[in-house]
């Protein structure tokens, strides 16, 4: 197992390096002079310094040399300065990471918390009215554009009813737990509803599969109660693919969080990346994208480890 994990970690590092090269190249294709922007963002640089650095790393230098220079600094933890915030890029990113983690974490738990029981309930009578309704609801949620869902929620709860704030992370001057929680309700609801559909369908399908297995029939024949059969046997086995799918869809959860954060002006990482790209803040965009990719890779690795740990039939070589 350890060898497997180590091998995967090495693979992860390789993928990250490749991605960093790809993204760095893409940044170089942005409008304007990205190198100029990246170098000159540092408010502590004199113009002479900026000119010197630009000559060193400018667009007339070969790509490989530029990338290596950037990479070397990155390994030291220096991701350059953010043009928009006049601070080191990493210093801008890391606090936002926390905000996004709260948003994604809460939505993830909520989505699973609703999808799993519903999926289990639906799987008990496939084809019943309840099952068809659940299926339709799930289909609806995977088909709805998440930003539109956000718009509708904003309209109903913030505009029409005036119950919840339409944006932001807290009321300025407040920032207490209750205030923050109020500001989280709509974003979390949006993200949870948008991601719930997929989990629901997968849970239901996995449970139906599990319930059709032989060992279920054996358990029932042995007289086990319905609850025990459902939750004790079937769920345990159905949960494995579901959790791994959920972890593998981390990437799409992050994309959903980006849209949600932008809609609700929630200061998270996704919204930061969007603003950095559009605001030509290339250092920030680069660092943010890499962080997002790294997080996704870690989540994938976690999923694989969890899968291996949960299912003794899987042996990784």
């Amino acid at each position: 197992m350890t060898r497997f994990v180590l091998a995967r970690l090495v693979q992860m590092a390789a993928v990250l390096v490749v991605m960093s090269f790809v993204i760095y190249t893409l940044i170089g294709l942005m409008p304007g002079d990205p190198i100029d922007v990246m170098v000159a963002s540092d408010p502590h640089l004199s113009t002479a310094d900026a000119a010197r650095l630009k000559a060193l790393y400018g667009l007339d230098q070969p790509l490989a040399r530029r990338y290596l220079a950037w990479g070397e600094a990155a390994l030291r933890g220096d991701f350059g300065y953010s043009r928009l915030y006049q601070q080191p890029a990493l210093a801008v990113l890391l606090p936002r990471l926390g905000n996004t983690a709260i948003l994604m974490g809460t939505s993830f738990v909520l989505a699973l918390g609703v999808a799993l029981p519903l999926g289990i309930a639906a799987s008990r009578n496939p084809g019943s009215a309840f099952d068809r309704a659940v299926n339709l609801i799930a289909l609806g949620f995977i088909s709805v554009p998440s930003f539109w869902l956000a718009l509708m929620l904003i309209f109903v709860f913030a505009v029409a009813l005036g119950l919840l704030p339409a944006g932001g992370i807290e009321t300025v001057g407040d920032g207490g737990v209750a205030d923050r929680a109020r500001h989280l309700v709509l974003p979390v609801a949006t993200l949870a509803l948008a991601s719930m559909g997929g989990y629901l369908r997968y849970m239901r399908a996995a449970m139906i599969d599990a319930l059709a297995q032989d060992y279920i029939r054996t358990a029932r024949a042995k007289g086990a109660g319905e609850a025990r059969v459902l939750l004790g046997h079937a769920l345990r086995n159905a949960l494995i693919p579901v959790i791994t799918v959920a972890a593998l869809s981390f990437g799409s959860l992050f994309s959903g969080a980006l849209v949600t954060e932008t809609m609700f002006a929630y200061p998270g990482m996704g919204q930061l990346i969007y603003e950095a790209v559009l605001g030509s803040d290339y250092n920030l965009a680069l660092a943010g994208l890499l962080l997002a990719t790294a997080m996704t890779l870690v989540a994938n690795l976690g999923a694989d480890i969890a899968y291996a740990a949960a299912d003794p039939r899987i042996a990784y070589r």
Partner: protein, 575 residues
């Protein structure tokens, strides 16, 4: 075989039972979530919302409205344009003029005429640490501004000051290289505290990074206005408290907090939740956002619309053969309904522009060619110019070339994009084919305009009262590779009469004569139309009903320069 059906409670009943059992907790949770919090703030504290955070607090480095707004509470310029757009003294005692002898003509080598101005700093002006504001500070500030290594934003200002000489601690004499009609206007000369900033200026190249305004911004010695900065949270907010050394009337508010909330939906949400009391018009909601807000919450807030000096227009590249013809330019203007745009999109708050001079400016004249919406006239002009309507409704000339132009503006600005679509549609109706090509502001202002790679470009100039359009219209201010793209005459307008008028206006001290020159200039502009004037943008100030004394200026100088007059209305004196 039929599966035995066990009794199993449906999911719905399980949920209901759960809620019933934990109803107390559920009630608490719901009330916490949905109760509108009351942000407690003492009545002598004011919270202002703006949409940007200053990149630096140093008065001479970087041009940012956010910075000028906040600094407006903490210091006073020598002179300023007040709300009636007259130059008045703020830090000085008497405004120099030829009548009172404080201004004198200066003969300069080369036959040029300069002016010698004498200013006296108010005797009671003191920095927040008690040190008086003296001519030492003036001389220091001049040295900082003149040094090319410090990278000040407005280098032109310092270039025009030939020399400054201190008469005593409070009086100094300035020699300016050109006698212009606005000779007494020293609005932009910022005074820095020599006793604090001298250390930072020891190495001029490093001044930008060593300036105490950024390394020690809460130092009281940096400010001499009604307030001083006592606390900051970068990117979030700035706290200002009363400055005991302030010479004027004691400001009503003990403490002012300026919050930066970039997203306008969040700005509105905070207004409603009383996280902030007001939104600054200089840097807050756009006009249509304010209009929408007023529609919904007009009862709880007082919205002031102040027409301003932001001149929204469409520059026409006169090197394009289509646009080189004056009749085509006039047709373009006749074909669009600016009054309707202003009336419907801006509730009529943005006055239609006839030229680059705003209606509130004293030199404004309405006696210029007007181009009220008249598609018939536009069509006639185009026909006469040789552009005939083809079968597809679009016009072509005899050579088969179609009347097709590109319109660029800043992308991401919803209002501008809507206006663009309106213009495009109206031009299409007279057979002009316009394509929209939007770009990020950096690209538009950085490359496209300076290198004149456009057909038509829609954007705004922020002007000043009686601002002479030298760099906008003079024929030697056309940016090109030879002059390193200096100048702002993006249309490429070359008119000797305009050049003459501009030169004459600058040095004409007699108001009557100058007014006549201005009228001629406006008429010429409206006849030639190097750019299509659209409207002057108004600023929207969203204020609570209990706040008195906020006087929007409508010009580039913020309302905070009179912040000592802001107060809570006395009960019974509403309205």
């Amino acid at each position: 075989m039929v599966q035995p059906r066990r009794r199993w409670r449906s999911s719905g009943t399980v949920l209901l039972a759960f809620i019933r059992r934990h109803s107390a907790w559920v009630a608490v949770l719901l009330s916490v979530l949905f109760a509108v919090p009351a942000v407690a703030r003492p009545p002598d504290e004011l919270a202002i919302g703006i949409t940007q955070y200053p990149s630096t607090l140093n008065p001479v480095i970087d041009e940012m409205v956010a910075k000028t707004y906040v600094l407006g509470m903490t210091r006073r310029p020598l002179t300023v344009y007040d709300a009636d757009w007259h130059v008045v003294c703020m830090l000085c005692v008497t405004l120099p003029s030829f009548e009172n002898g404080l201004a004198q003509k200066l003969d300069l080598p080369g036959g040029k005429t300069g002016v010698r101005l004498t200013y006296t700093i108010r005797p009671d002006a003191r920095w927040g640490d008690g040190v008086p504001v003296t001519t030492k500070d003036v001389l220091f500030s001049d040295a900082v501004g003149k040094d090319p290594r410090t990278g000040v934003a407005d280098a032109e200002l310092y270039r025009r000051i030939i020399a400054i000489r201190a008469v005593d601690d409070k009086t100094f004499v300035m020699d300016i290289d050109k006698l212009t009609f606005d000779y007494a206007d020293m609005n932009d000369f910022e005074i820095l505290p020599a006793h604090i900033e001298a250390a930072a200026f020891a190495n001029p190249e490093e001044y930008r990074f060593r300036t105490a305004y950024d390394t020690d911004p809460t130092n009281p010695g940096l400010y001499f206005g009604p307030y001083r900065i006592t606390e900051l949270s970068p990117g979030s907010h700035i706290v200002l408290d009363r400055n005991p050394t302030w010479w004027g009337p004691k400001p009503y508010f003990r403490r002012i907090v300026v919050w930066t909330i970039e997203n306008t939906a969040a700005l509105e949400a905070n207004l409603l939740a009383h996280g902030i009391d007001m939104v600054a018009g200089e840097l807050g909601l756009s006009l249509d956002e304010a209009l929408a807000f007023e529609k919904r919450h007009g009862r709880d807030f007082h919205v002031i619309y102040k027409p301003g000096l932001t001149y929204e227009h469409v520059d026409l590249n006169l090197d394009n053969p289509i646009l080189a013809e004056r009749d085509v330019r006039r047709a373009l203007l006749y074909a669009i309904d600016r009054a309707a745009i202003s009336a419907s999109l801006f509730a009529g708050r943005d006055p239609v522009a006839n030229s680059f001079v705003p209606p509130l400016d004293w030199v404004y004249t309405d006696d210029v060619p007007h181009y009220d919406y008249d598609p018939g006239k536009a069509a006639a002009l185009l026909d006469a110019a040789g552009w005939r309507v083809g079968p597809d409704g679009m016009r072509r000339n005899s050579g088969g070339q179609s009347l097709s132009l590109e319109l660029a503006t800043t992308s991401g600005d919803r209002t501008r994009e809507l206006v663009e679509e309106v213009l495009q549609s109206q031009w299409r109706q007279v057979g002009i084919d316009v394509h929209l090509k939007n770009q990020p502001a950096r690209v538009l202002f950085g490359d496209t305009l300076t290198q004149r790679k456009f057909d038509m470009a829609m954007y705004a100039w922020i002007s000043a009262p009686e601002n002479v359009p030298r760099s906008m219209l003079r024929s030697d201010e056309i940016p090109d590779a030879a002059n390193h793209y200096a100048g702002e005459n993006f249309p490429g307008f070359r008119d000797p009469e305009t050049d003459r008028l501009i030169d004459a206006i600058e040095v004409e001290l007699d108001r009557g004569k100058r007014e006549a020159l201005w009228h001629r200039l406006q008429r010429l502009f409206a006849e030639e139309l190097p750019s299509l004037p659209l409207y002057f943008r108004a600023e929207a100030f969203v204020l609570p009903p209990w706040l008195d004394g906020v006087t929007p200026t409508g010009n580039e100088y913020p309302s905070t320069l009179w912040i000592e007059n802001w107060r809570r209305a006395m009960p019974g004196s509403e309205g």
